[in-house]
Amino acid sequence: MRLKRSIYMLMAGWLLWSAAGPAMAEAPPASEYQIKAAFLYNFAKFIEWPADAHVADAQNFTIGILGPDPFGPDIAVIEGKPVKGKPLHVVRGHTLEELKGCQVLFIGALSAAELAQSLKHISARPVLTVGEGEGFAHQGGMIRLMTVENRVRFEINVQVADRARLKISSHLLRLARIVSTDDANESQ
């Protein structure tokens, strides 16, 4: 009886206090791009790079962001995390040249022509390409991140990944929608 009353008094007191309290700027909890960053981290974990990618020799495990960066500070959730025994490092750049040593390349919203160019340049190189655009995987990108019904999903173009000798774990494949390169875009 006494306990119930104390709890109610506590409740009433707090309602009065906080109604008069100062406004507070609260950092938003897990946002869309924090979650997509966590996906990048998981992709890195569940994919094996070929020996000549020299992942073992590199100091860091590097994710490069090419073009407009949709992550911003949200990428911080994965910065420094251990991947294949190395700390994860994120670099940004506007040209492929700047992002040479990356194991994963996130390609921001580029024009169709720029995207096609970039993908062609790094095709068959052991770099995991990730993007968000609607035709990304169909055009030759390896993994496309998308939001469906308020949840993050991804498509994988296994052909392109195989050609780059990246081994994607069956675990990841099971959860992805598998797509193949449109015949119209096959350059070979």
């Binding site: 406004a23 609260e26 938003p28 897990a30 869309e32 569940f46 700390p87 949840r151 099971r174 929608r177």
Partner: protein, 679 residues
């Protein structure tokens, strides 16, 4: 039968402290081993698996995603991965991995599942929900697990909260709440077919298909069939409790706009089980066994609307109809439930988040009489009105929060019940959470304690019958719970500790009346009336540890200890000793999951359950081991080979002799399953 010489309190204390020391050493060892690992800053997101990440709701409106690590309660989540790798074919089997939950199999189709003690065939202090629909039957106050045959591939997660979940979920969530959440249609797209066969799980089969409906909706539908063999008698012969159950279900999720979502889901089941019960016979020297084929069936339909006002405010409205037809050897019932619920969440000022809700439920129960059990009246309709409110106040933003709330219910038996609670959550660092809570909860009387007339013979005492009568004046049982806990989530290991101290009052017990002779030739009948004359305390600790020593090896351990000190002076503590002795004092679970090349997985699950010394139980402590070999052969095909209860030919876990159910033992078993997926 393995007579237990009885517990020696010194032996119990030293056993308990030995376990505690072992547990503490394991935890310290785990900590020391991973201390050298790169301890960089880790948001909780990177500790989640891909499946968990895929299940998080996001929107460009940056909605808050509630993570279980933020819950100021003893919470445990069984993920879809946990279920898949456990080899479990039913929800109670999977619940064995949760600390603080007692799971005991009485027979092929009967389970005793409870939280923090008071375990029994129909454990009345645990609320179980499926997608927000209650499967706790208020007629006999318990959950009929046999009839809740769930398609495990459809389960997204099972949330288990030990301790009073009263303010959000209402009465009867006294010791815990289990919420089984199924996947939205979009997560079950494409085709899935599974088929399996085994020694105990005779046949398992399911087929599911999901697709898109236009551009904004998805659907999924499934068919499921399961057949389970009978368990064994203590002598090694076959019991008579096999069962079979077929189920069909489906779901449509429609998201016409970013802010509105609709779900329509339902299922229908039909099956039957064999059962036997001891019944009083005219011959006092012997006991008759009534064998019966019991039918079961039912279905439900649920509609839900979710509207988002802003990133800090949303509304959920839900309505469902549930019908359940269930028979056991000793009773049969039909229950219709109509339920309407509304829940609104919004921010108040800059520091508070308020959640409030309204609910209405109409339960119509019709109990069919058997020679053993009769309800008077046989048919009844009961209404339940409820209102709850909860306020989360950020005392220190992101660090210290106070949550206060209460549920108010008006029921046909005891009138108005108020269940308040207050919780404090302290997050000194991203990885550490400390919480404390004080709550009050009630267990409202069921029709069973009020209207029942249960007469049966007890195997151990031939020539005598027990007649249990309900009591219309039976009041609600009360609980005041004091809990606290600590949670740590690191890169490679996690630790969760919960402590509780529960004070119970007005617990139900039976007071014997004057025995009399009845029948010809006469036998002795001892009448019992249910009264609120038991009280006492329970306390304990629950630990869950997760450790990933290697990239391909994951360990998950759970340890619980429980002490019950109940008093029922009216019978000289006979009933309280029996209630105490039906829940184990210690439980331990250790799961090991190993991933090998070429898609092979080896999962081992070691379990320990302490003995049940109650007079009518005498169940010895047991160790058991389950093993699973999984093989993801190709992108579409996977296989499972599972062995369960491998350490003993057969072992008993619980008896329901008070309900006249013959003793049964769980046998060593194995099954093989093939799964084909296509998208």
């Amino acid at each position: 039968m393995h007579p237990n010489p009885g517990r020696n309190s010194n032996a119990a204390t030293s056993l308990w402290s030995r376990w505690f020391r072992v547990g503490l050493l394991l935890v310290l060892a785990a900590g020391a081993a991973t201390a050298a690992a790169a301890a960089s800053y880790a948001g909780d997101l990177t500790a989640l698996s891909i499946e968990e990440l895929m299940a998080i709701e996001v929107s460009s409106l940056s909605r808050k995603s509630q993570r279980l690590s933020d819950t100021p309660a003893a919470a445990f989540v069984i993920t879809a991965e946990d279920i898949r790798r456990s080899g479990a074919t039913s929800v109670p089997e999977a619940l064995r991995m949760v600390p603080g939950i007692q799971v005991a199999r009485i027979g092929a189709d009967k389970w005793a599942v409870s939280s923090r003690g008071f375990n029994d065939w129909f454990s009345n202090k645990l609320l179980v929900l499926m997608d927000g629909r209650t499967v706790y039957n208020s007629v006999y106050s318990g959950v009929n697990w046999r009839d809740q045959d769930v398609l495990l591939e459809d389960v997204a997660r099972i949330e288990v909260i030990r301790g009073p979940g009263a303010s959000l979920w209402g009465a009867n969530a006294v010791n815990g709440v289990i919420n089984i959440v199924t996947k939205p249609a979009i997560e079950t797209q494409g085709a899935l077919v599974t088929a399996g066969a085994g020694t105990e799980a005779r046949a398992l089969g399911a087929a599911r298909y999901g697709g898109a409906l236009g551009s904004a909706a998805h659907y999924a539908a499934y068919l499921k069939y399961a057949e389970h063999d009978a368990t064994a008698t203590p002598a090694g012969d076959g019991s008579y409790d096999d069962y079979r159950l077929a189920k069909v279900g489906g779901r449509v999720d429609w998201q016409p706009a970013e802010r509105d979502g609709f779900t329509l889901q339902g299922d229908y089941r039909e099956g039957n089980a064999h059962g036997s019960a001891y019944i009083p016979t005219p011959d006092p020297a012997g006991l008759g066994i009534a064998e019966s084929r019991n039918d079961l069936g039912g279905g439900n339909l649920l509609a839900r609307w979710h509207h988002t006002f802003s990133n800090t405010s949303d509304l959920v409205a839900q309505a469902y109809y549930d019908r359940s037809d269930s028979e056991f050897a000793i009773y049969a019932e039909t229950v219709d439930t109509y339920d309407l619920d509304l829940q609104h969440r919004f921010a108040l000022g800059a520091r508070q988040e308020i959640i409030w809700g309204l609910g209405y439920r109409l339960t119509r129960g019709d109990v069919q009489s058997t020679p053993t059990m009769r309800f008077d009246p046989a048919e009844r309709s009961d209404e339940l009105f409820s209102l709850f409110v909860q306020d989360e106040i950020a005392l220190v933003p992101k660090k210290l929060a106070l949550i206060v709330g209460s549920k108010f219910e008006e029921n046909d038996f005891t009138g108005t019940e108020t269940q308040p609670n207050a919780r404090l959550r302290w997050t000194p660092h991203e990885r550490h959470t400390l919480w404390a809570a004080v709550s009050q909860a009630v267990r409202t009387p069921s029709r069973f304690v009020r209207d029942v007339s249960l007469t049966h013979a007890v195997l151990d005492y031939p020539g005598m019958q027990v007649a249990i009568h309900g009591n219309r004046d039976f009041d609600s049982e009360e609980l005041t719970a004091y809990e606290s806990g600590y949670r740590f989530s690191g890169d490679r290991w996690g630790f969760d500790l919960a402590l509780f101290y529960n004070q119970y009052d007005r617990l139900g017990t039976w007071v014997p009346g004057t025995p009399f002779l009845d029948g010809s030739p006469p036998y002795l009948v001892v009448p019992f009336t249910t009264v609120n004359e038991m009280e006492g305390d329970t306390y304990g600790a629950e630990v869950a540890v997760e450790w990933q020593p290697l990239a391909w090896w994951r360990l998950q351990g759970a340890f619980s200890c429980l002490r019950m000190e109940l008093d029922d002076p009216i019978t000289g503590n006979i009933i309280s000793a029996s209630v105490e002795g039906q829940s184990p004092e210690q439980q331990f679970s250790l799961r090991s999951a190993m991933d090998f090349p070429h898609g092979f997985e080896l999962d081992l699950w070691l379990k320990y359950v302490d003995d049940l010394p109650a007079e009518l139980q005498h169940i010895p402590a047991y160790w058991e081991l389950d093993a699973r070999l999984g093989w993801q052969a190709t992108r579409n095909w996977s296989f499972d080979l599972v062995g369960q209860n491998l350490l003993d030919d057969r072992h008993p876990e619980f008896t329901a002799v008070l309900f006249g159910v013959p003793r049964a033992e769980i046998e060593r078993s194995a099954y093989i399953k093939a799964t084909w997926r296509f998208q």
